[in-house]
Structures are given as C-alpha cells and as structure tokens.
C-alpha cells in the first residue's frame, strides 16, 4: 500500500508491522507523533500491544528492559533530552543483552531550548553498546525499524538497536512510502527471540553483583556482538530486499563513488544535501562522491578505509561536536584512516537545525579540493568571517571576551 506520511507516523506503521507487543514511551517534541499514532492504532484499529504511558524517559527505558526480559518484543521512541535522561538505562539495556528497538529523532540539547535537528544527542550515546542506524528517507525509516528487530534478535547479536532520523526535516515532512504486506514482513521477521527470559519454571537471576574477572568478559562479548552485527546487518538488508522489497545500503550507502577522487562523508538527511552538492561539483569537473554512514555503531571502519583510503580529498559533515577534536564523525573518520589517504576536513554545520544548503556544502568541498579549507570549519556560524573560523580566530574571540 502506498502512503504519503510523516517520518514519525511511518515509525508507528513499522512498529505495527513488526508486531511489537509492548511500547513504553514518553512524549517529546519532535517524537510525539510516534506515540500518538501508536496509541491510536491500539485504541481505534485493534493493534494488539500494551502501551505504557510512563512518566519519564528514564522509566520508559526501564519498563522496556523489563518487558523484554519477561519475553516480549518491546519498542520505545524518544529524542534529545529524553535520550540523555535515559542514558543510565541505555547502558543497562545493552549490558542485559536484550533485543529491543528504539527510534530517536535527532534534536539539539539545551540550553537554550531548541527542538530542531542536531545529532549531538545520539552521537554522545555512541558507546552505550547500542547499535545505531541513521536514516535519510521515510521509506528507509520504515524498512530500518523492521530490519532492526531482525538484527537485534539475531543470536549472534542480541543487542538493542537505535533507529535515528532528523528532527523536522524527516520527522514532520511528508514523503511517499510503500507499506509492505504483513505476510511479507512476517516471513522476514520471525517471532520474538531472546537469549534468556524470566520464567518461573526456570528461575534465573539476571544482573546481580559481578566481580572483575567476570565483568570484563561481558564487555568483550558485547564488543564481539558488535563485530558480528556488521555481517548480520548486511544480510538483513539483502534478505529484506528479497522478501519485502526496498534497499538502502547496509553499513554505508554510496553515491557516485565508483570513479570519485573526492568524497563527502555524512549522516542522515545531510547526506542527501551532500548528494546534490556532489552532482553540482561533478558538473563543475570535480569527480566527487558521497559516503552516507548508515550504521554508525558498529562503526563501518573497513568500508571507510576501502572507500576513502585512495581519495584525494575527504570532507566530513557533522551536526555534532567533540570538543578539542572537531566534529564527532570527522574525528572518528580520521582515526579510522589513521594517516591513510588525505587528512579529512571537518565541517561542522547546521547545529540546532540551522539550514545547510547544498550550495554551501559544494562551496566548502570545492575549497577542500583546492587545498583552501581549514582543518575544522564552521561555515554556517554567524560571524563576520563565517567561512574561515580558524583556531586563531577562536583564540582572538576568547581574548575579546576576557578583555
């Protein structure tokens, strides 16, 4: 069935198709429509699911962990402040090795109150043990939520999965989406599987005091599960294409990378802008491609080394900052390449929903191609020399404020 829907409503459709049994969520702009739609499905359309309208995100994640532990497929959705409020339990969920899926609408963190797009929220939670997949179209959101359960419940993975998409540019815009048949989804996604569950016939104790000699083993097992997840994500994407339809890449998706000499690396909707910018640069005679990182955790290091190692220029777009290092993604791409290929240029832009036009991406990428870019750029910053915020300029700003 073909629909024209918001990104948020598409998530609700995916949750229903995945036959989720418990939803536990707290409303937050711009995620609110997800829970509104799910509760409508339950109250008005006979969707068989328990919806727990918890009093906070911390409780949302706790209830979801407990529901999964009791043996049902669980879902939550949040954004920004909600995500960081549940931070403690993000670790608890992954450490419990319980399969579950959560959607996160990428939004800025206050103060000041800013409800617009920014990826600082999820990228700050990158090391919680969750798998993170970022989407760039509504169809991809739908397909990824369903695939996420398949990945999460794979016996070699058994980890929670976060499906991320951008505030407003994706959460509230309408796009055309093909809704797959329930039978096709059921063929792709078997009933809930979990490594353990609470059962009075086999009383297990989970999460008790654990001494150093055992704790490290559990951490390593999570590390290994992330490594295994890379292949599981690839396989899930391919099987989904065959059984349900729709393919959006696996760990990464590439545009025009076959004969590219320059690459822009980006995540989420920014990657679509980058694609338009790359088209423009190609018309201007610069063979430029785009690498969209879809799976951010586990980090696609092999793919990036293979794709970027031979480039002449690499520009990394970030809607998130790692203080002292540049953009979060840029610092990771640099670390992954480890001196192989060019030194990636870190372009930090569009924080808190600031507009990042494709023309700006094209302009800064062209500057990088010509060797005229700084190591770190903040091209959307509202300063007199907006495209040239060097470290010297930042230092000068500091001196002004001290004086």
């Amino acid at each position: 069935m073909r629909l024209v829907e918001t990104g948020n409503h598409v998530v609700a459709h995916a949750v229903r198709l995945a036959r989720v049994e418990v939803v536990s969520a707290y409303p937050i702009t711009p995620q609110t429509q997800v829970v509104e739609k799910i509760s409508r499905f339950i109250e008005e359309e006979g969707f068989e699911c328990e919806y727990i309208p918890v009093e906070s995100e911390h409780s949302a994640m706790a209830a979801m962990i407990a529901a999964a532990a009791a043996g049902v497929r669980a879902f939550s959705a949040t954004s920004a402040h909600g995500l960081v409020y549940m931070y403690e339990l993000l670790h608890w969920a992954a450490g419990s090795r319980l399969p579950m899926v959560m959607a996160n609408v990428n939004r800025a963190l206050g103060p000041g109150w800013n409800i617009w797009c920014d990826q600082q929220d999820t990228m700050s939670a990158r090391d919680t043990g969750w798998i993170q997949i970022y989407c760039s179209t509504h169809q991809e959101i739908l397909d990824t939520v369903i695939q996420a359960y398949r990945v999460s419940e794979d016996p070699s993975v058994f980890l929670p999965v976060m499906v991320c998409y951008d505030a407003f540019t994706m959460s509230h815009t309408y796009m055309q989406v093909d809704l797959p048949d329930q039978e096709a989804v059921d063929r792709f996604l078997p009933p809930f599987r979990s490594p353990w569950r609470m059962d009075p016939r086999f009383p297990l104790t989970h999460g008790s005091v654990i001494y150093p000699q055992d704790y490290e083993e559990t951490r390593f097992s999570i590390y290994r599960a992330h490594e295994a997840a890379k292949e599981v994500i690839r396989r899930a994407a391919e099987e989904y294409r065959d059984l349900v339809g729709g393919y959006h890449g696996d760990l990464v998706e590439t545009y025009f990378m076959e004969e590219a000499e320059h690459a822009v690396v980006a995540v989420g909707s920014l990657a679509l802008e980058a694609r338009v910018a790359a088209e423009e640069l190609r018309r201007a005679g610069h063979p430029c491609g785009v690498v969209r990182i879809r799976t951010y955790r586990p980090f696609p290091s092999e793919e990036l080394r293979r794709l970027l190692g031979k480039m002449r220029t690499v520009v990394v777009l970030d809607r998130a900052v790692s203080f002292g290092l540049g953009g979060i993604l840029a610092s990771e791409v640099r670390a992954t390449l480890g001196g192989e290929g060019p030194r990636p240029v870190s372009v930090i832009a569009g924080l808190g929903g600031r507009d990042v036009p494709y023309t700006l991406i094209a302009e800064r990428t062209e500057a990088a191609i010509k060797g005229q870019a700084m190591e770190e750029e903040w091209p959307t910053l509202a300063l007199s020399d907006r495209h040239r915020v060097s470290k010297e300029a930042l230092r000068a700003l500091g001196e002004v404020s001290e004086a």
């Binding site: 536990s24 706790a62 529901a67 009791a70 043996g71 403690e88 009075p200 999460g207």
Partner: protein
C-alpha cells in the same frame, strides 16, 4: 493461622550473602512463602542486590531481574505489561505475580517518581518497600525515611528533619491496597501478602526493617526491635482498602486499649543510632518531642476508635 502453618517451601535459600539478623531477608523469605513460585521479581539497587549472592550464584527460587536504582516502579510496569501480553497469548496458564522489591532509598527518594507514575497508572504489581530507614547498602547515610534524631554517617548529631510518611503518600494515590507490616508480627505480614496477591493493580506493602549494623543493635535483636517499634507506637500496622484503614495486630491492640503503649524511649535506648539522646546525658528535649508526636497520633486514633464504637452502640439500640 500460626507460624507452623507457613508453607515449608523456601524460595529464598539459606547460605545467601545477607548480614546476620538481616531484616530484609526475613521479609523476603516470608513474602515469597505467601506469593509462591509463580512470581516474577525485580530488585533495584539496595541491600537485596547484594544479599541475593553474587554471580554466578543466586539465592532466589523465582526469576529475578536486577535493575537500576530509580526504576522500581517502571521496571514493575514493564514486567506487568509483558505478563498481560503473555497471558493473552496463552504462554502462562496461571497469571504470575509481579513482585517489585526496593529499599527506602529506592522508594522514598530516588525512586518516588517512577513509583508514583506506576501507581497512578495502577500498574499490576505488588511493590514492597523494606524500610531500614537509611541507605544501609552504602554504609548508612540518611534517607527520606530516616527518623528524627537518628544518627547516620551524614547526620552524626542526629537527623534534624522528620521522616516522610510514604505509606500515606501511597494511600493518596488511590491504589487498591496499601499495608504496613512488621517482622515481629509474621502472620500479620504473611496474610497481608496473601490478601495483596488476590487483588489486581498497584499494591504497596511497607515493612519496617530494623538493620543491626545500621541501627547499631546486636544481630540477635532484629525481631525484638521490630516489636518495640510497634509497642511504642513508633511504627503503625494497618492496611488500607477501598477508602478504609484498618489497624492490625499490635497497633490494633494499642488503639483498642487491650495493650499498654510503651514509652518511646524503650525503643530508642536499645539502638546505638539514638545513643546521643541518652549519653553522656539525657536529651530530654528531643526524647519528649518524639514522644509528643506519637502521643498526638494515638490521641486521634483512639478518639476515632471510641467514636466508631459509640456510633455502633447507638445503631445497635433497639428501635423505639
């Protein structure tokens, strides 16, 4: 019912990691005897995280999910929602009881939001607060349940504030069952769990848990201290159902005048945490203040009891 009639089955096994004379292990043992094997249990950070024994051993005969400190109400909600689904799917022939177990820190303080939310949603679980009146697991720091004038490691001259009344906060939530219990009245405690088990929705039971190392009394005196708390009126035993509070066991006897209420200092002086009220000299002011509070509570309770008896006498008069 008598002690010897309690079920023989032990769902909290001996040899666990509890301290000598640990009140929470006694409460848990009795609670599980009442609830039986068909129980899903969650515990948040507390002494019970430790006394269950470290990985890979476990002293529990029911499935147990350890959860983060502030989550008791929410974790119980998640288990209850999953149980509802699983019962509808036919996974469980008989609906398991969800038991949420937390200390006073996890209930009065860091966990009150999640508990209040769950109670307002009438989540289907039995919530137990075993109240040892301090953060005993981290070495006895004050909590919202620590009584006035009690020593803790961060109230060394005695707590300056009065404790909050969590059970009454739960009564104010309008949930179907609220009860308080004492280890010194095990049949009363056991029967409260049996009654709670038959009710659906949020049920809250608070057990006073005298903690030998935290309250500073010999580990053989747990039950004696628990009994003195009731006999002096420092701890009230009651249950609240459908808008009505009924006082039970020792508290009922005090209100009805069938037992004499002991002075609070009988309770205070057996505990090292109140030692500064008696040594090096008696702190008459603070002892009297504690006594006055208890007296005021009992004046109201006794008056209400007498009024009720009086009204019943009038109702039972033969019609003219």
């Amino acid at each position: 019912m008598r002690i010897k009639d309690l079920p023989d089955e032990e769902l909290l096994l001996p040899g666990n990691a509890a301290c000598q004379g640990c009140p929470s292990s006694i409460a848990l043992r009795l609670a599980l005897k009442a609830l039986g094997r068909n129980t899903l249990m969650t515990v948040v950070a507390s002494c019970t995280s430790v006394l269950q024994s470290p990985f890979p051993a476990s002293a529990l005969g029911v499935p147990l999910l350890n959860m983060a400190f502030a989550t008791a109400g929410a974790s119980g909600s998640g288990l209850a929602a999953a149980v509802e689904r699983l019962v509808r799917k036919g996974v469980y022939a008989e609906r398991p009881t969800v038991l949420v177990w937390a200390g006073d820190g996890g209930t009065y303080d860091i966990g009150i939001q999640a508990l209040s939310g769950a109670a307002e949603r009438n989540a289907d679980f039995i919530y137990v607060c075993y109240n040892n009146e301090a953060y005993s697991n981290t070495g006895t720091q004050r909590s919202g349940a620590t009584p006035y004038a009690a020593w803790t490691t961060n109230t060394v001259s005695g707590k300056r504030e009065w404790r909050k009344d969590m059970a009454q906060i739960m009564v104010a939530h309008g949930i179907p069952y609220v009860a308080t219990a004492s280890l010194a009245y095990p049949i009363d405690l056991y029967e409260k769990f049996l009654r709670a088990k038959e009710i659906r929705g949020t049920r809250y039971i608070e057990v006073l848990a005298p903690c030998p190392p935290g309250w500073k009394f010999p580990s053989g005196h747990t039950i004696k201290v628990a009994r003195l708390a009731v006999q002096t009126g420092m701890w009230l035993l009651y249950e609240h159902r459908e808008g009505t509070t009924s006082y039970t066991a020792g508290t009922q006897r005090l209100i009805q005048g069938k037992a004499r209420r002991l002075p609070v200092e009988e309770y205070l002086k057996v505990q090292g945490r109140f030692r500064h009220l008696f040594h090096p000299e008696r702190d008459e002011g603070r002892i009297a203040e504690i006594q006055r509070r208890v007296d005021r509570v009992f004046e109201t309770l006794e008056f209400t009891y007498r009024m009720r008896e009086h009204i019943m006498d009038i109702e039972m008069l033969p019609p003219r």
